[in-house]
């Protein structure tokens, strides 16, 4: 059993207060949206019906929140129990990421007061990719809270309840692996329907596979990133032995991704588009160069033991994967007929507010709940 501890210390630090201020500004604009409609705060329009609230908060945000999924995958499916220390913090960021993606959806959808229609069997459209994604994400948010619940029950010493939950937790763990596999690939399937409106550099029959791989890559990169940042911020030892082992997987995943990604565009005959020097071509190159860079760093075992290089590689993977997803939903999307979209300031502040809320929740939880692994005396230096 992995021993864990709450970090303790003051919650109301300066970074926490800065985040609170940003979250309040976001909250103000969310209020405006509910009173005057989406058009009053957002630049979304009939040509670009989805803006950053979907492309960032949901499509990129849930990928960043795939840390829990990626670690659960390696612990339970590949039976590597030694990664357990990474599990709870990863699950927690996943829980926040997904929950806030769910919250963003509520203010993004126009007729939010009817959102429960998704759960009414007589209205469900089994052909709809959106239906599957909505149902899967909704269920997964619940699953994440159940997976994380033991940590909260520890805090409140609710041992009986915890024992009862532990008897059935395997169901939630299993769902916690199945559901992200389903909806993360479906987030790619979703844009198949955009057809000729999506640039051929992104539109592909392989969208579901590429979205699934980026979810896993971003998930591991987020684990590495968070673990390193938390170590520095809270002055704890780095979990380098685990991180360098995990990162040994990455060259394979990145290699698989790059082969499918490039060869798919090439076989369809659109690779020359990438070298025309336009915005889309350059973004395509940048996305893939970031992944290639991470691959080259992590391919050498020595590099995987350097915190600096691991950090750089994880940033490259986070950025490359996020860009791929963002471009598929916004930059590569062109409905024609002269529509343009760039997010408005209030629209961006709502997204910043969501991110700020996430950081606040993280700080509050690690300080008050037993999330991070307990350190031995020797490690407390």
């Amino acid at each position: 059993m992995q021993e864990r501890e709450a970090l303790g210390g003051k919650v109301l630090t300066v970074p926490f207060k800065v985040c609170a201020a940003i979250a309040l500004i976001g909250l103000f604009f969310i209020g405006k949206r509910f009173i005057f409609g989406i058009g009053s705060v957002s630049n979304m329009n009939d040509g670009y019906p989805w803006g950053i609230w979907i492309a960032y908060d949901v499509v990129v945000g849930t990928a960043l929140a795939c840390a829990g999924y990626s670690i659960a995958l390696i612990i339970y499916v590949f039976n590597k129990g030694e990664y357990s220390p990474l599990l709870k913090p990863a699950l927690m960021t996943s829980m926040f990421g997904y929950t806030l993606a769910g919250v963003s959806v509520i203010f993004d959808i126009g007729r939010y007061w009817q959102a429960y229609n998704i759960f009414l069997p007589w209205l469900s459209n089994l052909h709809s990719v959106m239906f599957e994604v909505a149902l899967c994400i909704g269920t997964y948010i619940l699953v994440l809270w159940m997976e994380f619940a033991p940590v909260m029950l520890d805090k409140f010493k609710a041992d009986q309840l915890k024992a009862r939950l532990n008897r059935i937790i395997f169901v939630f763990i299993a769902l916690g692996i199945l559901l992200p596999t389903m909806h993360q690939s479906s987030l790619g399937t979703m844009m198949l329907m955009a057809g000729h409106k999506l640039s051929p550099l992104w539109w592909s029959g392989f969208l579901p596979l590429l979205f699934l791989i980026t979810a896993v890559v971003i998930g591991y990169a987020a684990v590495i990133f968070e673990s390193l940042v938390a170590a520095i911020a809270f002055k704890r030892p780095m979990e380098m032995h685990l991180l360098s082992k995990i990162s040994a997987l990455m060259p394979w995943l990145l290699g698989l991704y790059l082969v499918v990604r490039i060869e798919d565009v090439n076989l369809r005959g659109y690779l020359p588009l990438a070298f025309e020097g336009g915005l889309l071509g350059n973004l395509f190159l940048l996305e893939n160069l970031l992944f290639l860079g991470a691959l080259l760093i992590l391919a050498y075992p020595n590099n995987r033991h350097s915190p600096q290089l691991l950090f750089i590689a994880s940033c490259a993977m986070l950025l490359g994967g996020s860009m791929y997803r963002f471009n598929t939903y916004i930059v590569g999307f062109d409905p024609g007929t002269g529509w343009r979209y760039f997010p408005s300031v209030p629209e961006m502040f709502i997204t910043f507010g969501i991110i700020a809320a996430e950081v606040m929740a993280y700080l509050w939880f690690v300080k008050t709940l037993p999330v991070l692994p307990k350190l031995t005396k020797a490690q407390h230096t």
Binding site: S42, Y76, N79, I118, F170, M193, A194
Partner: protein
């Protein structure tokens, strides 16, 4: 019988590969859909349209939509620039600067919902708010089901559904072929109002034949053209235009119930060149291959529960 973890994983891997092979995206398409039995639609003939916009006005009246004033300093008449949450039907003009004669190509085009035979919006909608009538094939919208996710807008290859961005209680807005008038035995308001027969209502089978008949006409000669409803007896005589030899909407993305004829290339009129297979058929095919009766997900879930439970028990 005890299945060992390694064997189970091998099985899963083999299954996934099989699935991937079966799912070669190029072959995953599902079959095309057929025209509904009593499909009705519109044949719009750009060569007959004089751009009077009476159809726009009739549409707004029939559907209770407000006028739009694109030039705020001159709020005298309805002057929408494109389809919007207030404009379900619009006449647009294509022209080359400085050219006034139709030989060099200026032409009108009428835009509204195409009532696709395999509509992307219907397939996209998670809550069945957009439905295709199994009898007459009209694509209708039900605001009581809609959650406002706007996937229909992303999915529509023609950018038809519009959203009420400035309302706190927004709806999706699109042409529903005046289904409320059809229910009373009428025809869509735009066709009833059209003075030249450029917008012609009727059963799609008949409209297709009529379109073929027109493509066979000799340009410059006079012919009879039905007006308003192809099943009515009212006709007008017009000179036949020089048609582009293509019925737009007959095969595009699996076909639609709105058909276009024109004297200038369709791409000039904002109607893109589209493949005959719909993107819906492809997306559906891939989705169906993975989720066929939820068999794969349930098998995977069962396997996961099995190995995780084993692992947890061993720990204790």
């Amino acid at each position: 019988m005890k299945i060992r973890r390694r064997e189970f994983l091998k099985g899963v891997a083999a299954g996934t590969l099989l699935l991937a092979a079966e799912q070669n995206p190029a072959q995953a398409k599902r079959a095309r859909k057929d025209l509904p039995p009593k499909a009705v639609g519109i044949l719009y003939d750009s060569t007959l349209c004089v751009g009077c916009k009476v159809c726009e006005h009739a549409c707004k009246q029939a559907n209770n939509k407000a006028a739009e004033h694109s030039i705020p300093s001159e709020p005298l008449w309805d002057d929408p620039r494109d389809l919007s949450d207030k404009t379900l039907n619009i006449i647009k003009r294509y022209g080359v600067e400085g050219q006034k004669d139709s030989v060099e190509g200026f032409a009108f085009i009428k835009r509204h919902c195409m009532h696709c035979i395999d509509p992307a919006c219907v397939s996209a909608c998670p809550v069945s708010a957009l439905l295709k009538d199994p009898e007459n094939g009209v694509v209708t919208y039900n605001k009581k089901a809609c959650i406002g996710c706007r996937y229909c807008q992303v999915a529509c290859p023609y950018n038809i559904p519009k959203f009420e961005w400035d309302s706190p209680f927004p709806e999706i807005v699109k042409c529903q072929l005046c289904s409320h008038l059809l229910a009373k035995g009428g025809i869509s308001a735009c066709c009833a109002a059209c003075p030249t027969g450029a917008s012609l209502f009727g059963p799609v089978e008949k409209l297709r034949l009529e379109a073929k008949r027109r493509l066979g006409m000799e340009p410059g000669k006079y012919y009879d053209f039905p007006v308003a409803d192809i099943e009515s007896t009212e006709v007008q005589q017009h000179r036949a235009g020089g048609y582009v030899k293509h019925v737009y909407g007959e095969r595009e993305l699996g076909g639609s119930q709105v058909l276009y004829l024109a004297g200038v290339p369709f791409a000039n009129l904002g109607l893109p060149d589209l493949p005959e297979d719909s993107y819906v058929a492809l997306a559906d095919g891939i989705q169906y291959a993975i989720y066929k009766g939820m068999v794969y997900p349930i098998v995977v879930l069962g396997g996961l529960i099995y190995i995780i439970r084993n692992r947890e028990e061993k720990k204790e």
